[in-house]
Symmetry: C4
Subunit: 196 residues, 4 copies
C-alpha cells in the first residue's frame, strides 16, 4: 500500500516548478523601452499557451487522483513518465517562441504535447485497471471523447508543421480551449458516489 498523498505532493511540486521556471525563458532585455520587449512577444505567447497546458494537466491529474484508492508501483512509474514529458515543456516552449515558430520548433512542441497525452492515457489506463470494475473513474470518463480527440489533433498539428504552422498553432490552441471548457464528469460522478 502506497500513500497517494505523497504522489500528489511530488506531482504538485514538479508542476509548480515547471509552470514557474518557464518564465525564466523570458530573459530580461537590456534596453528599457517598450520596443525592447518586442522580440519577447512570441516567447510570451508561447509561455501563455504552455502555462495553460500545465494548468490543465494539474487540474485533470487532481481530479483523477481524487478517485484513486490505492497506488501501485506501475502507477507511480507511469506518473513519473508523465512528469518527464511535462518537464520538457519549458524547453520546447522557449525554443518555439525564441525562433518565431519555425517548422522544427512547432513540430517538437507538438511531439512533447503528444508524448504527455500518451503518458497521461497510460497512467489513466493503469489506474482503471488496478481498481475494480465499479470504479468511479471508468464511469466518469464514459467514452472519454476529449481524451481520444487530443492525440489525433496533436498529430494533425505535428504533420501540419511541415506545410503550414498556422494549422499546427490552431490545433494546439484548440485542444487547450477544449479542455478549458468546464467538464464536470468526475465531479458529478464523485457527488453521486456516497462512499466519498
Amino acid at each position: 500500500m502506497m500513500t497517494k498523498g505523497r504522489l500528489e505532493a511530488f506531482t504538485d511540486g514538479v508542476l509548480a516548478i515547471i509552470i514557474t521556471i518557464m518564465v525564466l525563458e523570458l530573459k530580461v532585455p537590456h534596453g528599457g523601452d517598450f520596443e525592447d520587449l518586442k522580440p519577447l512577444l512570441p516567447i510570451f505567447g508561447s509561455y501563455i499557451l504552455s502555462f495553460i497546458y500545465i494548468a490543465i494537466y494539474w487540474n485533470n491529474h487532481h481530479h483523477m487522483m481524487q478517485t484513486v484508492k490505492h497506488v501501485t508501483g506501475s502507477i507511480l512509474w507511469a506518473n513519473m513518465h508523465l512528469l518527464f514529458w511535462l518537464s520538457l515543456i519549458p524547453f520546447v516552449s522557449g525554443w518555439m517562441g525564441e525562433n518565431h515558430f519555425t517548422t522544427a520548433g512547432v513540430f517538437l512542441y507538438g511531439i512533447v504535447l503528444l508524448g504527455a497525452a500518451i503518458a497521461y492515457f497510460v497512467l489513466q489506463y493503469l489506474i482503471i485497471k488496478s481498481h475494480g470494475k465499479d470504479f468511479i473513474l471508468s464511469k466518469a470518463l464514459g467514452k472519454d471523447l476529449k481524451g481520444k480527440a487530443s492525440p489525433v489533433l496533436y498529430i494533425i498539428g505535428i504533420i501540419s508543421a511541415f506545410f503550414n504552422i498556422w494549422i499546427s498553432g490552431f490545433m494546439f490552441v484548440f485542444v487547450a480551449v477544449m479542455w478549458l471548457i468546464p467538464d464536470n464528469r468526475i465531479e458529478k460522478a464523485l457527488n453521486k458516489d456516497s462512499n466519498l
Copy 2:
C-alpha cells in the same frame, strides 16, 4: 467536491518558487569589490518590493482560503489566473530594476500588479458567490476598502509612469505598506464563528 488542500499546496509551491527565483535576477557580478555591487542596487530595491508583494499575496490568499468550504472548477481556474499574473513578477521586477526604473519598466510593473489585483478580486468574488449568504468571508471583508483602493492606486501609478516615475514608485510602495499594516478582519470573523 474538490479538496482545497491540494489547491493550497499548489499555490504555496508556485508562490514559494516565484519568491525564490526572483533572487536569480541578482546576477553574481564578476568583480569582488563593494563597488561591483553598485549596479545591483536598483535590482535589489526592486527585489525587496516584489518580495513583499508576493508575501502579501501569500498571506491574504492563506486567510481567504481558511474560510473556504468547497472549491469549484471556476475557483480553481480563477486561482490559476492569479498565479499567472504573479508568475510575471520576477520578469517585470528584474526588467524595472536592471534598467533603473524607466517609464516602460515602471509601467509594466504596474500593469502586472494591476492584473494580479484584478485576478485576486475575481477569485474572491467567485468564492463568495459559491458560498451561502451567511458566508464568513463576506462578513469579514465588509466594505473591503483596501481591496477597492489598491487597483485605483495602481492605475494612478501606471499613468504617472509617463510623467514622473517617483509618483508611480510612491504608489506601489504605498499599497504594499497599506497591506503590511495588520488587518485582522478575517481572523476576527473566524474567531467569532463557532463552526471553525
Copy 3:
C-alpha cells in the same frame, strides 16, 4: 519526537526541484532548425538517465519512509547528506553531457552516484538501528542484493572511465535498469504487517 511528515515534504520538495531544474541545462539553441538540436543530444541523453535516477531515489525513499515510525536527529542529518549528493546531479549531468562524455565528466558523474548510494545506505542503516529488531524494514530488505551491488557497479564504472567510457556508461545504465525492475519487498512486508 519529530514528525516524519515534514521530513518527507522537504525531501519531496528538494527532489521535485532537482528533477525539474536539470532541464535548465538544456539551453534553448539560437537556431530554429532540427540540426540546431544536434549538439543537445548528449545533454538530453544525460538528462534522461539523471531523471530516472532521481525518480528511483524518490521511489525508494518513499517506500523506506513508509516503514519509519520515528525520526531522530541523526536520521534527519543523514537525509540532508543524501540530498546534498543528489543536489549535485544537475551539475554533473550537465557537465557530462555538454562535453560529450569525457573521462573526467563520466568519472565525476559516477562519484556523485556513488556518494548518493553511500548516503542512502547510511540513512537506511540509521533508520534500522533506531527501530526495534522486529522492524519491518530490516525484514523487507533481506539480503538487500541491489543495495549492495550498486556501489560495486558504480566503482567499476568510475574506474572504467579512465579506460573505456562505454563500460562506465553501461554500468550506470545497468544499475538504473536494475532498480526500475519492480521490486515489491517493502510493499509485501507492509501488507503482511497488520499494524499498518
Copy 4:
C-alpha cells in the same frame, strides 16, 4: 486562528528551493577535463557551507514549530523576514565563491548570516511572547547559549573580513559546526511534556 501547517509548508518550499538553486551558481564549465573544474572549487566550498546553513535553519525551524500552538499575524511576517535573509544566501554564496573570498564577498556573506540570525531571534521571541509562561519552547531554550553566541561570532567574522578573511572563514564554519553538534533541548522538553 491560522493553521501552522501552511506556514510550515511554505517555509519548507522556500528552503527546499533555496538549497537547490544554489547549485545553479556552479556553472557547467565548457572544457571537459579535471582542470576545468579547478576554478569552481571555491564556489563549491562556498556551496557546501551554505548548504549546511540552510539545513541547520530548516532543522531548527522545524523543531521550533513543533512547539507552536498558534500562529499570529506578526509571527507570519517575522517568518517572511527570516525567509528574505535566507533567500539572499545563494547570491552572497555565489559572489563570495566566484571572487575567491575577497573582503567584500566575505563581509556581505557575514552580513546575510547575521541578518538571518537576528530574524530568527525575532521570530523566536514573538513565538514565545504569544504563548503562555509555561510554554515548552521557553523551557527548552533555557539560556539559549548557541543562539546568543552566533550573532557575536558573526560580527567578529564580519569585522575580521577587513583584516584577515581566514578568521572570518573560521567563525562562519565554527558557528555551523556548533549547530551541527546534536542538541536535544527541544526534543527532550517535548518528550517530557505529556500534552504532545
